[in-house]
């Protein structure tokens, strides 16, 4: 293999390519701010027309994702916290593996018997080792983050 460039130029070229690769690998600006707590409120109408209200909190940073959900139905409150390790990440995607689940009660969250689809999705997400793909959606605001969780078909926007 012979290039038509002086021999001494090869080393700077090699160094430059490697530097660019390492830079792009290390510096991957995401659509979210690390170690910032995002929150939002969600309302879901169940099949019996009851309203399931939730407050959700999310923090991503240091290779971990922590999500907490406070759920209220008919003036009763329960909560669940999920801790996950980030196993792959790019500018627009975060792939996590659930490592720990804590529930305020042994029973699952509300409304599982009323909404079968919700039940199955929760079964999946509350299981240690579950893989979830978060796709970050660009927004016009730096203070908010929107994402779509593919496995749950869940769309969320959160602010801090």
């Amino acid at each position: 293999m012979k290039f038509g460039i002086p021999q001494v130029v090869h080393w700077p070229i090699i160094a430059l390519i490697n530097a660019l690769c390492i830079f792009s690998f290390v510096y991957s600006p995401s659509h979210y701010m690390e170690n910032t707590s995002y929150q939002t409120k969600t309302r879901q109408w169940l099949e019996d027309l009851n309203q399931l209200n939730t407050e959700e909190y999310l923090t991503i940073g240091h290779g971990r994702l922590t999500g907490t959900t406070l759920e209220s139905l008919n003036e009763k409150i329960r909560n669940a916290t999920i801790t996950a390790n980030i196993i792959a990440e790019s500018k627009t995607h975060v792939q996590i593996k659930v490592s720990n689940v804590k529930l305020s009660q042994d029973k699952e969250l509300f409304a599982i018997e009323k909404t079968p689809d919700l039940f199955f999705r929760r079964q999946y997400v509350l299981q240690e080792g579950a893989i979830l793909n978060y796709e970050l959606i660009p927004t016009q605001s730096k203070d908010a983050v929107c994402f779509y969780v593919h496995e749950l078909g869940r769309l969320r926007c959160m602010n801090h």
């Binding site: 090869h10 109408w45 796709e135 779509y148 926007c157």
Partner: protein, 272 residues
């Protein structure tokens, strides 16, 4: 192509790299033919290709041993052997060592084609047209016998390995940035500050949802502002929004129960 160069004591050598034949003609007209070993021949060939240009040890090893792994002592041995053949073992004036850089062939020893006698004359009077001194005379402005200012374009083995490693690093980087993950498609519309994004698993799905949203959004008050994302998943609509005050809200319901326009308005206006 053969190379002609001067040796000490007025002898002239002709080297043919194809046959590895070195012919030395003494000032007295005696001719000695010898076939060089492969390593000596390749080394001499490399240096004579660009006389006066310093070749690094890596470069010489790459060329001489054709990418075979050899001990560094092999090069020293080959240089030693070639110098003996060229009667240069004591002074190193022909095959010169350039400290910390490598070796070069003294450019003053090489006879240019223009200086070379015609073949018929060469045999009869080999040294007639050739100056006896290897080194330039005092005041001679000819270039130094060895130079490192001219850059070789030959890549060394280390550089080739570095390029391969770099290629692997680049491939890994591209793979990482690509992250084989599912991707949603988004179709957007801006209606006087109300930006609606339809999120679908493919463009057609996003576009269909956008068309429905755009149609229903005609019922919305014109002063409604903010960003809204809409998704349809298993017969349930999800509406997520960022309000002008940068707070967020999310609504989810069965598609048969309410219309989208009402959901968008609630998401942007109602305190949950």
């Amino acid at each position: 192509m053969s190379y002609t160069f001067k040796l000490k004591n007025g002898a002239v050598a002709v080297f043919d790299p194809d046959s590895a034949m070195l012919t030395i003609t003494t000032p007295h007209g005696d001719v000695q033919n010898s076939t060089l070993g492969r390593a000596e021949s390749r080394l001499l060939d490399l240096l004579l290709k660009e006389p006066g240009i310093t070749k690094s040890r890596d470069e010489i090893i790459d060329y001489t041993w054709n990418d075979r792994v050899v001990a560094s002592g092999s090069l020293n041995q080959t240089v030693f052997s070639l110098r003996n053949i060229l009667n240069d073992s004591r002074d190193h004036e022909i095959l010169m060592t350039v400290p910390r850089r490598g070796y070069c062939f003294n450019r003053h020893a090489v006879v240019d084609a223009a200086d070379r006698p015609a073949p018929s004359e060469e045999t009869a009077q080999p040294s007639a047209a050739i100056p006896e001194q290897l080194a330039p005379t005092v005041g001679d402005e000819s270039p130094a016998p060895c130079s490192t200012t001219e850059k070789s374009t030959r890549m060394t083995k280390a550089q080739r390995v570095a390029y391969i490693v770099t290629l692997a690093v680049a491939a890994f980087t591209v793979f990482q940035s690509g992250l084989d993950a599912p991707k949603v498609e988004i179709s957007s519309i801006d209606k006087n500050g109300l930006v609606i994004h339809a999120v679908g698993n493919d463009i057609a799905e996003a576009q269909a949802l956008m068309n429905l949203s755009a149609k229903q959004s005609e019922q919305l008050p014109p002063d409604l502002k903010g960003q809204v994302w809409i998704n349809l998943y298993k017969a349930s609509y999800s509406v997520s929004c960022i309000r002008p005050d940068l707070s967020t809200a999310n609504l989810q319901l069965n598609s048969s129960e309410r219309d989208l326009a009402l959901m968008i308005r609630q998401c942007l206006e109602v305190t949950l």
